[in-house]
């Protein structure tokens, strides 16, 4: 709760509307809008970068905006309105609130605007014309399979450092991990965290390093024999490592994660994280811009779900599990190298 409130207070600090300054648009230049969750997260910074370079290459004009904070729906609605006023015919959006954004999307579609959801779907998913995103369940499955192979039949005592209750991405990665590890797991449509005897502790990390550390410490207190840690993302993994290190257990415990940010890949290289599933925000955005330019030229809309792919990054490959090393991971990562 406090998270939401103080992030809302933060609202004043981040500017919701950006890039609408130059009103003069060449008549035939396609205008494409990009609305991300926030404009501070490196993931979305990379996404914007990908959209900008694709737009420049194709001669399109990119308008970009972001919610004021994670969860800010009103800011995204305002951004949609302003972008339509700015002449956008295609809007790429990462919804902050998958349900609440739908009426605004419907209204804009009535004005002939094509919507492509990036990274996370609207609810219902067919509210947008198309979805370009990572398959989070697959991302979880990959690290689950890797962990199973790396444990080599040793009995697992697993801690999961999850996102926060009720978030579909958190559930998909968690449940995918369980499936990959060979545990009885809910399928990809279930929005609840699966449970199992092997998972001895589950705690919320909010995807944050300090909170991830606290969560890991409490899990170690609950069960000191934990030997495998699944984390929702790499900041949480870094927090988990710090907690393990403080407890003198960093050698005997394996951490697996999801994201593939540059900082995370570095931690894989340093051996803090055994393996991570890398996703590709830049690709989501550049594919979105390409589709927008195509739509402006031919009037042909894209539809359905496109998986933008995920790659397992590790320096200790396991036979039977496809992976790439951290050199490849660094080439494709997002955030500052």
């Amino acid at each position: 709760m406090t998270l939401t409130i103080s992030r809302t207070c933060l609202a004043l600090s981040t500017i919701a509307l950006a890039a609408l300054s130059s009103a003069a648009v060449a008549a035939d230049q396609p205008v494409i809008g990009l609305i991300t969750k926030t404009d501070t997260n490196p993931f979305f910074v990379k996404m914007k970068e990908g959209a900008q370079s694709a737009a420049t290459a194709k001669g399109a004009k990119l308008l970009s905006a972001a919610g004021k904070a994670d969860g800010d729906n009103a800011g995204q609605v305002t951004a949609i309105e302003n972008m339509i006023a700015g002449g956008a015919k295609t809007i790429l959006i990462t919804p902050n609130d998958s349900k609440a954004i739908v009426p605004a999307i419907k209204k804009a579609q009535g004005q002939g605007v094509m919507f492509i959801a990036l990274d996370s779907p609207a609810d219902p998913a067919d509210a947008t014309d198309a979805l370009f995103a990572t398959n989070n369940y697959t991302a979880g499955e990959l690290i689950g399979r890797y962990a199973k192979a790396a444990m080599g039949g040793k009995p697992a005592k697993i801690a999961t450092l999850d996102l926060f209750p009720g978030h579909p991405v958190g559930a998909q990665r968690h449940n995918g991990f369980m499936k990959g590890f060979g545990l009885q797991a809910p399928d990809s449509k279930i929005n609840e965290l699966g449970k199992s005897a092997e998972i001895v502790c589950s705690a919320d990390s909010f995807g944050d390093q300090a909170k991830g550390q606290t969560a890991m410490e409490n899990c170690l207190q609950k069960n000191p024999d934990i030997n495998l840690v699944y984390t929702i993302n790499e900041p949480a993994a870094a927090g988990a490592f710090q907690a393990l290190k403080n407890a003198g257990k960093e050698k005997g415990v394996m951490i697996v994660s999801v994201d593939g940010g540059c900082a995370g890949v570095k931690n894989v290289k340093a051996g803090m994280i055994a393996a991570t599933s890398q996703q590709y925000p830049l690709k989501m955005a550049s594919m979105g811009v390409d589709a927008g330019v195509e739509f402006a030229k031919t009037g042909k809309k894209v539809s359905g779900y496109t998986d933008t792919g995920v790659t397992l990054i590790t320096d200790k490959p396991m036979s039977g599990v496809d992976s790439k090393d951290t050199k490849v991971g660094m080439d494709l990562c997002w955030g500052n190298k």
């Binding site: 406090t2 300090a210 409490n218 207190q221 710090q242």
Partner: protein, 327 residues
């Protein structure tokens, strides 16, 4: 005559109705007793040492927050100022290769400068603390992001992470940072009770006008409180850096409300002038105990948020009722 009465009451040691002091202690004891029955791993010195480590950053921020709330103010900027201080320290030491101790001092000074700005706007321009610190909170956040380029600073020199390391007494490991936090509480508890400026803080919170009429420079007291609070946020920066082992530009986002929660749970009145600083430590620990205990029970941390909300309402209600009773 009335002036002398006010003077003596304003200058005397703060007296509290027992319930405001005992309330948080009772809540803590009940929570501990409950969790002890639910998990056999809860009741150990090592676990309590862990809980203290987990609340040391918020606990230290809460010292500064308590001082400000005692003057009937509030500080929303504390968490962001702490994050900025942490980025300044770590970036100067790692990025610019500055001597770590010097980098820490610069970080502290930056935090105190924010306190100075808050204090000047409150005392000179007479702006409400809520609005002033809402503004500086956003400014501190933006500067943190711009200065750090939203990048986490790693590979810190050992001097900066000293407070994250531990020493052992028997089988239990204690953390230097928590010892430092407890010492800071002890120091401020003494300062507020036993020193002239300490008592002036209570007086300003009780009745600023009467206090001013007794010849106390209330503006100077307020300014001092805001700068001192800034210093505590700076020390919290150091503890946060030591605990996580990195300079994290996204740190501190929930610390303002978490610190206010700790202060309120600890029985300090939001109307100013009443409260014991040690209560804020109890308040911070209560939140930590619930988070830890619920995890050990395998229960979702949402319940910790729920219980915290209920306890805050109880604490404020207790304060309000005891104020009425006092009149």
């Amino acid at each position: 005559m009335s002036t002398t009465t006010t003077l003596s009451s304003a200058g005397s040691r703060p007296k509290l109705p027992p319930i405001a002091t005992l309330g948080p202690l009772i809540a803590l004891v009940l929570a501990v007793a409950f969790f002890a029955t639910q998990s056999d791993r809860f009741l150990s010195i090592q676990n309590f040492s862990l809980i203290l480590q987990q609340v040391m950053v918020v606990g230290t921020i809460a010292i500064g927050q308590t001082l400000i709330i005692l003057t009937a103010g509030i500080d929303l900027s504390c968490g962001m100022v702490m994050a900025l201080g942490a980025m300044v320290m770590t970036k100067l030491a790692v990025g610019s290769g500055l001597n770590p101790y010097l980098a820490i001092v610069v970080g502290l000074l930056v935090c105190m400068a924010f306190g100075l700005v808050n204090g000047l706007l409150v005392t000179r321009v007479k702006l409400p603390p809520f609005i002033v610190t809402l503004g500086t909170m956003n400014i501190a956040f933006a500067i943190t992001q711009l200065y750090s380029n939203a990048q986490t600073v790693t590979d810190l020199p050992p001097e900066m992470t000293f407070f994250g390391s531990t020493f052992s007494i028997g089988s239990a490991a204690f953390n230097y940072g928590t010892v430092f936090m407890v010492l800071m509480y002890a120091f401020m508890w003494w300062g507020l009770r036993e020193t002239q400026p300490g008592r002036h803080v209570y007086a300003v919170g009780n009745n600023p006008e009467a206090t001013r009429l007794t010849g106390i420079a209330t503006d100077r007291v307020l300014l001092g409180v805001y700068i001192l609070a800034g210093a505590f946020y700076g020390l919290a920066s150091l503890l946060s850096v030591a605990r996580t082992g990195v300079g994290d530009p996204n740190a501190g986002q929930t610390e303002n409300l978490d610190a206010i929660t700790a202060v309120v749970l600890g029985g300090t009145s939001l109307f100013g002038g009443r409260g014991i600083i040690l209560g804020s430590l109890l308040g911070a620990v209560i939140v930590g105990v619930f988070r830890n205990g619920l995890t050990l029970m395998g229960v979702s941390s949402v319940y910790q948020v729920l219980i915290t909300g209920v306890l805050v309402i109880l604490a404020v209600t207790t304060d309000q009722l005891s104020r009425k009773g006092a009149r």
